[in-house]
């Protein structure tokens, strides 16, 4: 038939084989999910895990974050001994926790402790998304609340780095209540005049964004970080509306008044130092006495 003469040639899509996927050896090389460039992991780590070609901020583990932020040798960790239970007898919960503990060498999804940033003493809590996606269960809530209490006792600023999918489903309502526990601790600390700085990193969603992550005197975020309450898919299905591309990114939040600033990882230590410096109020005495 004549029609056949004009028929389109079928186009074939290439499906990456399992073999191709494994071409990049685990660990040695890392592929940037944004610009797809493949680079040495070593090089990436050296650049604070910021993509060398496109500036994409790869997730950082809690120990890495602490190493690059606090002055060398000053970090003293709190509460390594707290371990999760299985309050709802959720199937396989303990096994999964065990696995993540093995994988990350952490007791839970947050590392807390004290140290100094360019000489300024601080208490920090750093979440680690490798551990159950940084979800907040009883141990995460308790560790954060205890860290805030320590900051209160010592009268030093409290800095939290969030990276979390939200509340931990396997602990049910107990995990929901950790939102109230951590927020209440921050309220007491704030009433005492304590300085709270929140740095939201990719991703900060659900119950974590709806509690301590948003309660800083200064709320910062890393470029491109996903931050929001309800997930994009949930919203799209509920409201049946196409959402903008930059929806729930750090930049989107800045535009909508939720953040004080979006701070690239390389500038973070300097920015925090400046803010801590202003709050230390040195040089103020000269004003009060004269």
């Amino acid at each position: 038939m004549l029609k056949d003469l004009f028929s389109k040639k079928k186009k074939y899509a290439t499906i990456p084989s399992e073999q191709a996927k494994q071409d990049v050896p685990e660990g040695i090389m890392t592929k940037c999910p944004k610009c797809k460039k493949i680079m040495y992991t070593k090089e990436l780590v050296k650049n604070l895990r910021v993509c060398i070609s496109c500036g994409y901020h790869h997730p950082m583990s809690a120990p890495e974050r602490i190493a690059c932020l606090l002055d060398e040798g000053t970090f003293c960790e709190y509460d390594r001994h707290l371990l999760s239970k299985n309050p709802l007898d959720f199937p396989q919960y303990m096994e999964k926790i065990e696995e993540d503990r093995e994988k990350t060498k952490l007791n839970e999804a947050v590392v807390t402790g004290e140290g100094t940033i360019n000489g300024f003493p601080v208490v920090v809590a750093v979440m680690d998304s490798r551990f159950r996606m940084g979800s907040m269960g009883s141990v995460v809530g308790e560790k954060i609340a205890r860290a805030i209490e320590r900051a209160m006792e010592k009268s030093v600023p409290f800095i939290i780095f969030t990276a979390s999918g939200g509340a931990r489903m396997q602990e049910g309502v107990l995990s929901l209540m950790q939102m109230a526990k951590t927020s209440a601790a921050l309220k007491l600390f704030s009433e005492q005049g304590g300085l709270i700085i929140s740095v939201m990193t990719h991703p900060t969603t659900g119950g974590v964004s709806a509690s301590f992550a948003s309660l800083g005197d200064y709320n910062f975020a890393e470029p491109g970080a996903l931050i929001g309450f309800a997930g994009r898919r949930v919203i799209e299905q509920t409201v049946r509306e196409e959402l903008p591309d930059d929806f729930q990114t750090a930049e989107f939040l800045l535009k909508h008044g939720q953040l004080d600033a979006v701070i690239p990882r390389h500038e973070l230590k300097d920015t925090l130092t400046n803010i801590l410096d202003i709050h230390q109020a040195r040089g103020e005495d000269e004003w009060r006495t004269s």
Partner: protein
């Protein structure tokens, strides 16, 4: 100078003549130095006469000068360690108001101010320095933060007014301004406000309830723009000049009315002539104000602020009761 004001025309002409003469002597073998000296002396005298006798309308023109220094120009010169904070944590970040934390001669402070743009592009981004409710709410958030940490607050006022628009009304422009007046009255830390350009009505006052309010010599502060007043009173916006003369909007008038505390002198011809020098004049008054306020307790600060505003107003307390009952 690219942008000249109406009353400066004689000066501009004279300056042109002098430079022409100078140019001329460079290339020829004649000596006009006597002539040049004479003209320069005349220029000096003319400048003095003109700038010493500025009419309110002339001052309106200076206050609106496109090169007039803005909040960020002064922040850069008066403060160190400035860190800008964005957003009202509610709806948006209004760039018509800038605010943040900084150090002032070593003292931690919060600085907030209206911000105009330097060119059309920036002016569109900053909405010509006319804030929406989220701008005022950001300012209030920063003031509350300053209060928590016991930092004095410094406000620079420079706006034609709060933005009159649909979106602004929907989000509660009135409530945002009212809330600021209400909350500023109760702040437990020193508040010093300085009108650096135009002080346009409620939009200016929403950053202007302070322990001290100072005004640059050529800035204005009024309930409405001269154009607006003329339109309402005489149904003719072109009578703005007349309105400017009658409405008492200059620093001198406001000082007499007891609305402001001090007039900050300006560089001759206006702040835009020498921003560094102007910043020094502001520095002087700001230091004095803060030194007076820092020893006061929270209660004293609130009482002093209330007294200040309680004093303002003009009326007769008559013996006679006027009543329709």
């Amino acid at each position: 100078m690219a942008y000249e004001l109406e009353f400066e025309k004689p000066l501009v002409e004279l300056r042109k003549k002098i430079s022409e003469l100078k140019e001329f002597t460079k290339h020829r073998d004649v000596d006009f130095s006597d002539e040049i000296n004479k003209l320069e002396a005349r220029l000096e005298k003319l400048e003095h006469d003109i700038y010493a006798n500025l009419s309110p309308w002339d001052r309106v023109q200076i206050a609106r000068h496109p090169n007039r220094p803005t909040t960020l120009d002064y922040i850069e010169r008066l403060f160190t360690n400035f860190f800008e904070c964005h957003g009202d944590r509610c709806f948006g970040d209004d760039e018509a108001i800038v605010g943040g934390i900084a150090k002032y001669h070593g003292l931690p402070v919060t600085v907030i101010g209206h911000q105009r743009g330097k060119d059309t592009k920036e002016n569109i981004r900053r909405n010509f320095g006319m804030p929406h409710p989220e701008g005022y709410r950001k300012a209030l958030r920063l003031m509350k933060q300053a209060e928590k940490f016991g930092r004095p607050i410094i406000c620079f006022i420079d706006t034609k007014g709060a933005y009159p628009g649909k979106a602004a009304e929907e989000r509660g422009q009135s409530e945002a301004i009212a809330r600021n007046l209400f909350e500023m009255a109760g702040l437990t830390v020193p508040v010093v406000c300085i009108v650096i350009g135009e002080g346009g009505s409620g939009g200016a006052l929403a950053l202007g309830v302070g322990n001290y309010v100072h005004m640059l010599e050529n800035s204005t502060y009024s309930v409405i723009s001269p154009e607006g007043a003329a339109a309402i009173l005489w149904k003719d916006a072109s009578l703005a000049k007349k309105a400017a003369e009658t409405m008492k909007i200059t620093a001198k008038d406001l000082k007499e009315l007891g609305v402001i505390d001090e007039i900050v002198p300006e560089v001759r011809g206006g702040a835009h002539r020498n921003v560094d020098e102007q910043a020094k004049y502001i520095d002087d008054v700001l230091q004095r104000s803060l030194r007076q306020l820092l020893p006061l307790s929270a209660e004293q600060l609130i009482a002093q602020r209330y007294e200040k505003y309680k004093q303002i107003g003009d009326f007769i307390e008559s013996q006679q009761h006027v009543s329709v009952m």
